[in-house]
Each structure stands twice: as structure tokens, then as C-alpha cells.
């Protein structure tokens, strides 16, 4: 915004708001924001596959605020789009606007995160990962791959965020089977590398023997790696690291042996979303819950998968 000042300048390509009658499917997509690399990959995937599938996309970024997302959805309803898709910032509080969409006969698809609405006719389908399941997968690997007493430190996501809550819950439920696995410290690293590093630095000083780090996303894990290195230990060997997401930087670290296990949380929902959207608009039956195809990676699998990784 530096330099000249004034109003003009910014890219406002093409105005046209209407345009629903040229046979093209119009989708309104209300994204959470661009708070992480994962989210940006997700946005990109949706945009690219919309172009590929010939869908006209109306994109709105809510800057991580639920109220903005509500406004965006209302404005989609007013602009009479054919289908609305969105990744809810929070699970709660969607009934009213979903009802409005239903009254306007616009089908809704949820992506990435669920809503807690009791009336499940308010949306057609929910496409996305299962955060609890991700936590379970991480826990399961730990249970399967360690013996004896294990001291775990946990790097949580943003306090109150759904993935943070669910990944913690899933993880804890599985390791409960092994009383000798103990979570000795747990703190929020806000899903960022800087947060992960700072928290890990403090953990390393207050807990002399840490065996495993469980990070709710790759970024915090990558931050923890830096802290572990600075403390003169070897990440992946002296301290094992488990993370969730499998973004490219994480996969690289995994392939290099600095991370031990990653649970995938796939952001590339675009193609599946477009497919579902077309079916929904055409009135076809779709399953109420579509879980994204997701896997887990060990170090060997990472080496094999890395060259084809897109994000």
C-alpha cells in the first residue's frame, strides 16, 4: 500500500456478479483464511480444480473470523449462486445461515471441518478429514513403535481450535492403553514454527528426559527440530517426533530422518469437491460424509513419496 496512495491500484479484475444462466455452475466458496501453508494449499487446490472442472468460483477469505464467513455466505445467497461450499471456522453457530440457504434452495457442502448442527438436512455432505482419527493414528504409531517408559511432550495447536482439541483427544485415547507412556508436558505452540520452537526450548530445559514430541502440525514440529538441534541433541534419534499434516517441508524433514512419523491431513480437496458439487446440483444422491483419502508416512514412505509431492 506504499507509494502513490489513493484508491485505484488494486487488482479488481472483472466485475460481473450474476452470470448464472450461461450454463456454468457457480460456486461460492468461503475459506477460513490463509493462516497456514496447509490452508493456502487447500485454497489453491479448490481454485485450480474449479477452473479445470469449468466451475465459476466466487471466493471469499474470512480472515479467520466466523462473522466474516457468515457475511460471505449471506452474500452468496443474495447473489444466487448454484452451490455453496465452506470450511467453517468453528463448528457452532451455523444453523441460521444454513437455514437461509436451504430456504433459498441452495445446496451446501462442508469441507475440512464439520458443523455441530443437529439437523443434518441443512447441508448435503461433509468432505474432510477426521481430526480425532488423525490423533489416533499418531498415538497408534507411538504405541506400536516404543517399549517401556516413554516421556512425551505435546505441542498443541491454537487453544480452542477444533483440530487442536480433536488431535489431542484422539492421541490420548489411544495411548491410554499404555500406562507407561506419559505426557510430561503439553503447551500451545499456536500452530506456528516460532511457537513450536519457543515452547520446545522451554520443555528441553524443564524436562531432562524427553523421548518423543507429538506436534499437532508439521510447522510446530519443524520449530521443535530447531530447538532440539540448538540443545545439542539429534532430532529423530535422541528425540522422536510425530506430527500431523504432511506438508512439503515436513515430508522433507521426515525423509531426512529428523521426523519419525507423519499423519497426513490432505488439503487437496478440490477435485473431490467439484465432483460432489456437480452431483449435488444435478440432484444426485451423495453420501453424507466423505472422508478424504489420507494416509500416514514413515521415513521410507516419505522418501518414496517426496518427489511427487505437490505442496
Amino acid at each position: 500500500a506504499c507509494g502513490g496512495g489513493g484508491g485505484g491500484g488494486s487488482a479488481n479484475p472483472g466485475g460481473g456478479a450474476g452470470g448464472q444462466d450461461d450454463g456454468k455452475l457457480v460456486m461460492g466458496f468461503a475459506q477460513v483464511g490463509a493462516e497456514s501453508g496447509w490452508r493456502t494449499a487447500n485454497t489453491k487446490s479448490v481454485q485450480e480444480s474449479a477452473t479445470a472442472a469449468g466451475v465459476e468460483l466466487k471466493f471469499s477469505d474470512a480472515q479467520q473470523k466466523q462473522e466474516n464467513q457468515l457475511k460471505a455466505i449471506r452474500s452468496f445467497i443474495q447473489q444466487k449462486v448454484d452451490v455453496i461450499a465452506f470450511s467453517p471456522v468453528v463448528e457452532t453457530g451455523w444453523d441460521a445461515v444454513l437455514l437461509e440457504a436451504k430456504r433459498a434452495n441452495i445446496p451446501v457442502i462442508l469441507t475440512d471441518r464439520a458443523v455441530d448442527s443437529e439437523d443434518d438436512t441443512l447441508y448435503e455432505t461433509f468432505l474432510g478429514s477426521d481430526f480425532v482419527e488423525e490423533g489416533k493414528k499418531a498415538g497408534q504409531w507411538l504405541v506400536d513403535n516404543t517399549q517401556g517408559a516413554v516421556n512425551v511432550v505435546e505441542l498443541q495447536g491454537t487453544t480452542g481450535a477444533a483440530p487442536a482439541i480433536d488431535r489431542k483427544e484422539g492421541f490420548e485415547s489411544v495411548i491410554a492403553a499404555r500406562p507407561d507412556i506419559k505426557i510430561v508436558a503439553t503447551q500451545s505452540g499456536d500452530f506456528t514454527r516460532a511457537g513450536g520452537k519457543q515452547v520446545m526450548e522451554a520443555f528441553l530445559k524443564s524436562n531432562p528426559d524427553i523421548d518423543v514430541v507429538y506436534a499437532h502440525n508439521d510447522d510446530m514440529g519443524l520449530g521443535a527440530i530447531e530447538a532440539i538441534k540448538a540443545a545439542g541433541k539429534k532430532p529423530g534419534t535422541d528425540i522422536k517426533i510425530i506430527t500431523v499434516d504432511a506438508v512439503k517441508d515436513g515430508m522433507t524433514a521426515l525423509a531426512n530422518g529428523e521426523i519419525n512419523f507423519i499423519v497426513e491431513c490432505n488439503p487437496l480437496l478440490g477435485p473431490q469437491l467439484m465432483e460432489l458439487a456437480k452431483k449435488v446440483v444435478a440432484g444426485e444422491e451423495v453420501p453424507k460424509r466423505v472422508v478424504t483419502e489420507e494416509t500416514t508416512f514413515t521415513q521410507e514412505q516419505a522418501k518414496a513419496a517426496l518427489p511427487e509431492r505437490k505442496y
Binding site: 500500500a1 506504499c2 507509494g3 483464511g33 490463509a34 493462516e35 497456514s36 501453508g37 490452508r39 493456502t40 485454497t43 498443541q156 487453544t159 508436558a185 503439553t186 503447551q187 500451545s188 499456536d190 500452530f191 506456528t192 514454527r193 516460532a194 520452537k197 519457543q198 515452547v199 526450548e201 522451554a202 520443555f203 530445559k205 524443564s206 531432562p208 510447522d219 519443524l222 520449530g223 530447531e226 540448538a230 540443545a231 545439542g232 517441508d249
Partner: protein, 338 residues
């Protein structure tokens, strides 16, 4: 030398700092231990210094801005821009030096921009800098295209994570602090800044170049923010345009205020700002070290902040000294600026 605004007021931030460190030492006996590792100092105290360096640097610039009755909300965004420019440059195969110089030059421009809005157009500082706070982060993301840019550059990683016995980051910040202290107290700059902050009209009539001075401090704080951004990025070897330096403006302002500088402008204390920044960083580290549950963290912080400023207040000081001393309020009538 750096402080003139009542040394006695600095006793309480100092006490808070000592108390926090003592609290840590009780919970984690190893907290105070320092050892040499790979030729540099290693320990929790060193972490506090290193992690507090960016906040300190920004708070340093912010102190001068606040002394002129201003405020700069855009520092976090400016830090993100600096980090983004440098990391994108390095990731694209450029040299770290050139990247950093480019970034800091851009920061100077951004500072000029803020200063222009405040001094020439006469827009209230909080709102003038809000523009860059919002748009700047978008700019940073535009540069990185929303990706976290990871870099591997030894020189670059020294700035935030390197050591010369002590962390290089804190050495930079302290050098800046001492530099500014010398610059403002050995020259007349400090006095002129305070004069502009206390009574702009009287200063104008006394022939002070208030516009130039105010403009300069905005450029300076932007430069500080730029360097802080480089530190933050270098510490994790990556630029995260969305999260880098998020809310750091609040931490910086808080550090300034804890240090005893009034948001109403005028007298400032650089030593106080140093203490303030250290208190804030120690507080954060304390939360991690003594294992405050995440859902209690904020309440804990609130209690500490309130305790520090209550102790600092003149009234509390009076109460502590015992009610014997009469509560005669020093008359602010003729002291306060119009």
C-alpha cells in the same frame, strides 16, 4: 544514562523480573544454570534474551514514537514484509546480504509512508498505521504467495539463532538500545522528542522541527521492525507471512508502558523499555517452563501484568510505605500539558 524518567519507577518492573525468575527457579531448579555448549552460553536465561530480542528492538523504536504522542500498529506487518522479502530473495538464489538490504530499504519506505500520513496529512497515528497493519500483511503474503518460505542460509540464520557467546539477536538489540540512548541523550534529540510529545504547539513556536522529528521516529521504528522481522524469520529459518510478528505491536507497546513511559507522550525511559521487554518474554517462558495449563495461561498473564502495574502505581507505593504518609496528591493541575 538512558533513563531520566524517575529511576524509582523502574524498581517495580525490575522486582517483577526478579520475582518471575525466582518463581521459575523454584519450579525448575535448572532454570538458572548456564553452561557452555558449542562455544556459546546455553540455558533458559539465554533463551529469554534471544527470544526477547525482537520485541525489545521494536519496543525501542516504539518508545520514541510513543514519546512523540504517537503509536505504530504496523510494526508486525512491517516485520513480516521484511522477512518475506529476504526469504523470497534467498530462496530464489540471491545472497542473504542483498536480501536483507533490500528488505530494510523497503522498511524505510514503509516508515516514510507512515510518517507522511501522520505528519503531512495529519491523520491520527493509530488509524494511519492501521492501514499498513492491514494492508502490510497482505503485501507480505503477496510476496510469499501465502506459502511459508523455508531457507537454508548460514549467514541469515545467524541473525536470529546465532551466537557470539551471547545470542547475536540480543547483541543487535542491545547495541541499538545503547546507540539510541547515546544518540538521544548525548545529542539534543531526546529533549526535542520529549518537547514535541508534551506540547506540540509550544514546540512549534519555539522553532522545533517537529515534523522532521516525528517523521524520523516513524522511519526508525519501521527499521527496527524490519530487523526484528529478520530475527524472527532467521530464528526458524523461514518466513511465515501470516503469523510472523502477529500481535508483536501489542507486546512492544506493553513493554514500553510497563517501562514507565506514558502513552500520552513526553518523558520516556529506554531502560524501562528494556526491563519491560524482558518481563514480557520471561512471562511467556515462565508459562512454558512451569507448565501452566493452556486454558489458564491468559488468566495467569493477566494477573502478572496487573500485579506489576499496580505495584508501580504511586498510590500502591504509598500504601506499601504505610498509611502514615499523608495522601496529598501531587497537584497535576499545572503539570499536565493542555
Amino acid at each position: 544514562m538512558p533513563s531520566r524518567a524517575g529511576v524509582s519507577r523502574l524498581v517495580w518492573p525490575l522486582a517483577a523480573l526478579v520475582a518471575l525468575i525466582a518463581l521459575n527457579a523454584v519450579f525448575t531448579p535448572s532454570f538458572l544454570t548456564l553452561r557452555i555448549q558449542d562455544g556459546h552460553l546455553f540455558g533458559s536465561l539465554v533463551d529469554i534474551l534471544r527470544n526477547g530480542a525482537p520485541t525489545l528492538l521494536i519496543a525501542l523504536g516504539m518508545t520514541l514514537v510513543i514519546a512523540t504522542r504517537g503509536i505504530d500498529l504496523s510494526v508486525g506487518a512491517v516485520a513480516a514484509i521484511a522477512a518475506a522479502v529476504t526469504c523470497v530473495h534467498i530462496a530464489g538464489g540471491g545472497s542473504a546480504i542483498v536480501g536483507m538490504v533490500l528488505a530494510l530499504a523497503l522498511c524505510v519506505l514503509l516508515g516514510l509512508w507512515n510518517g507522511f500520513l501522520v505528519t503531512v496529512l495529519g491523520i491520527q497515528p493509530i488509524i494511519a498505521t492501521l492501514v499498513l497493519m492491514t494492508a502490510g500483511r497482505g503485501l507480505a503474503m503477496l510476496i510469499t504467495e501465502g506459502q511459508i518460505i523455508t531457507v537454508n542460509n548460514d549467514l541469515f540464520s545467524q541473525i536470529g539463532a546465532g551466537f557470539l557467546v551471547l545470542p547475536i539477536a540480543i547483541l543487535i538489540s542491545l547495541a541499538a538500545l545503547v546507540g539510541v540512548a547515546l544518540l538521544t541523550r548525548r545529542t539534543a534529540l531526546g529533549m526535542l522528542i520529549e518537547a514535541v510529545g508534551v506540547n506540540p504547539e509550544a514546540s512549534r513556536l519555539a522553532g522545533v522541527r517537529s515534523r522532521t522529528i516525528v517523521w524520523t521516529v516513524y522511519v526508525f521504528v519501521a527499521l527496527c521492525a524490519g530487523v526484528a522481522g529478520l530475527m524472527l524469520a532467521s530464528n526458524v529459518n523461514s518466513a511465515d507471512a501470516n503469523n510472523l510478528g502477529l500481535w508483536i505491536e501489542m507486546d512492544a507497546i506493553l513493554a514500553v508502558v510497563i517501562g514507565g513511559t506514558s502513552l500520552a507522550g513526553g518523558r520516556y525511559s529506554l531502560l524501562g523499555t528494556l526491563l519491560g521487554a524482558l518481563v514480557i518474554q520471561t512471562l511467556t517462558t515462565t508459562v512454558y517452563t512451569i507448565g501452566v495449563p493452556t486454558n489458564v495461561t491468559l488468566v495467569f498473564k493477566a494477573v502478572v501484568v496487573i500485579a506489576v502495574c499496580l505495584l508501580q502505581s504511586p498510590r500502591a507505593a504509598g500504601l506499601l510505605r504505610g498509611r502514615a504518609s499523608r495522601p496529598s496528591t501531587p497537584d497535576s493541575a499545572e503539570v499536565s500539558a493542555p
